[in-house]
């Protein structure tokens, strides 16, 4: 259908432009907000891919929790600008030297990835077969086939929570 293709191009364009602006902004708060916009576009793409559960989870977890954490840290650190005077005059993406090589490497990575991902024969039609969209099916599979990974992930989150609290704690007696 034409509308699906139009929506794909719209969401794709928003995601790409927002991501480009994320890496181009000097102020980290604008970067965080633009990344949230990019996540919203990706959530739309997941809906187009018949994955409503992942789309909503993307908003809840990524845009609603992880980015809030980033925003809090940026606000609390309150260091909006990069440091040296040279950095303040020249835009981050226009500096010379090893950074230009980095940009060329990223472009080379894109070419390689595109070749690797699409060389398995071009698909001409839409997606074949039916999609698994129901949350019940995902839940069933998650708690039976992937039960071990699920439990390990919950321990991982616990460890990360404890680790974050310990790492960010001020030593008693200083400052």
């Amino acid at each position: 259908m034409g509308s699906e293709s139009a929506l794909f191009h719209l969401f794709g364009a928003i995601a790409i432009i927002a991501s480009l602006l994320v890496i181009a902004q000097k102020n980290p708060i604008y970067s965080v907000l633009l990344l949230i916009a990019s996540f919203g576009a990706l959530s739309g793409l997941y809906v187009l891919l018949d994955a409503p559960f992942v789309a909503v989870i993307q908003i809840i977890v990524y845009a609603g929790a992880i980015m809030v954490l980033f925003l809090f840290v940026v606000m609390l650190l309150n260091a909006p600008h990069e440091d040296t005077e040279h950095d303040l005059e020249v835009h981050p993406l226009l500096r010379g030297g090893p950074l230009r090589a980095g940009a060329l490497l990223a472009a080379a990575l894109f070419v390689e990835l595109t070749w690797a991902l699409t060389k398995g024969g071009g698909e001409s039609g839409g997606f074949p077969g039916a999609a698994v969209t129901s949350v019940a099916a995902i839940g069933r599979s998650l708690f039976t086939d992937y039960a071990f990974a699920f439990e390990v992930t919950s321990i991982l989150i616990l460890v990360a929570m404890v680790g974050a609290v310990v790492l960010a704690r001020r030593e008693p007696g200083t400052k």
Binding site: I29, L33, I36, P52, F53, V56, I57, I59, I60, A63, G64, A65, V68, L71, F72, M75, S134, V135, A136
Partner: protein, 341 residues
């Protein structure tokens, strides 16, 4: 076909319009109920018994000067109330407020009174509530003032803490209903046991209902959890620097969030639009009655209970409400497994 399309568009506009009206009605209801609880009269000069008071308030707010602090970030300062108001309205897009109705026979087939029937509706409500945090935290930050920043950070920390209990209360209902779609959940609450007790989930999940209402009150920053915007503590918290229509947007967003929490609570726990004596197509009357009861409860809470201090509030959310919600979920799961509900 086109009749249905027009009906859908009219329904969407109708929901939007009614939400705006509900904010205005809540302003009046709050002041009148507060007055009754405090044994005074309340608004009574503007219109019959003061019913035009919200109109007077809106006109006053429109004529105030729209200030922006010089050191405020202009883009974020303008964006924050927009995000707050948009998320408040967006959550209501998936809430059903009536059964199948043909609008008194005008339509060829029935439409459900719901703007969008997605089959992950509960998660969408939760997701939009998560996004509402940004309006507040950006308002606090962009105002570039200490009261605002503290109020914004405290308020958003409170909201994300109580979101956990909110989600667990939702999950308990999900276990009972076996579906994420709000329409399915309401439909399962039709009928009654022994022709006396309606099959509402509040009777199966009393603890879940209490957890949900408490978390909902904390999510919408209402008393007794409204420390971040209490006048005696932080001037006005995150909306200190806002005036005129931008302040009105925050104000309106708070009331519409209240209405959404009440509407979702009605759908999840109180049986939605099901009730005696009325057919399903007129069920929206029952829905209105139930939502009004919960909103009255909200206002009553505000003017009766003293305010929690911020550290007490956070301790309550993490150390009391979250364990209660988890235990409720476990007991519900055990009950569903054992009784096969």
């Amino acid at each position: 076909m086109t009749a249905l399309l027009i009906a859908q568009i009219v329904l969407t506009l109708f929901v939007f319009f009614m939400l705006l009206n509900s904010a205005a009605v809540m302003v009046y209801v709050e002041r009148k109920v507060a007055a009754q609880l405090q044994q005074r009269i309340g608004p009574s000069l503007v219109g019959w018994k003061g019913v035009l008071q919200p109109l007077a308030d809106i006109i006053k707010l429109m004529f105030k000067e729209n200030l922006r602090p010089a050191a405020a970030d202009p883009l974020l300062f303008a964006l924050a109330p927009i995000i707050a108001a948009t998320c408040a309205f967006a959550a209501f897009a998936v809430v059903p407020f009536g059964g199948e109705t043909t609008l008194f026979g005008w339509l060829p087939e029935g439409i459900r009174l719901q703007v969008a029937d997605v089959n992950v509706a509960i998660l969408v409500v939760f997701a939009v509530a998560s996004m509402g945090v940004y309006g507040i935290v950006l308002a606090g930050w962009s105002s570039n003032s200490k009261y605002s920043l503290l109020g914004g950070l405290r308020s958003s920390a409170q909201m994300i803490s109580y979101e956990l209990s909110y989600g667990l209360a939702l999950a308990s209902v999900l276990l009972l209903a076996n579906s994420l779609s709000l329409t399915d959940i309401v439909n399962r609450q039709g009928g009654s046991w022994w022709h006396v007790l309606p099959r509402w989930y509040v009777f199966l999940q009393p603890v879940g209902f209490l957890v949900y209402m408490t978390a909902g009150i904390a999510e919408t920053n209402r008393a007794p959890f409204d420390f971040p915007e209490a006048e005696q503590e932080l001037v006005a918290g995150y909306h200190t620097e806002y005036s005129s229509m931008t302040f009105a947007m925050f104000f309106m967003a708070e009331y519409i969030n209240m209405v959404t929490v009440s509407a979702v609570a009605t759908d999840l726990f109180l049986g939605g639009w099901h009730g005696p004596f009325l057919p399903a197509s007129l069920g929206w009357i029952w829905f209105l009655i139930k939502v009004s009861a919960i909103l009255f409860f909200y206002v009553w809470m505000r003017w009766t209970l003293p305010r929690y201090r911020y550290d007490q509030l956070m301790a309550f959310g993490w150390k009391v409400l979250l364990p209660v919600a988890v235990i409720n979920l476990l007991v519900t799961a055990a009950g569903v497994l054992y009784f096969g509900i």
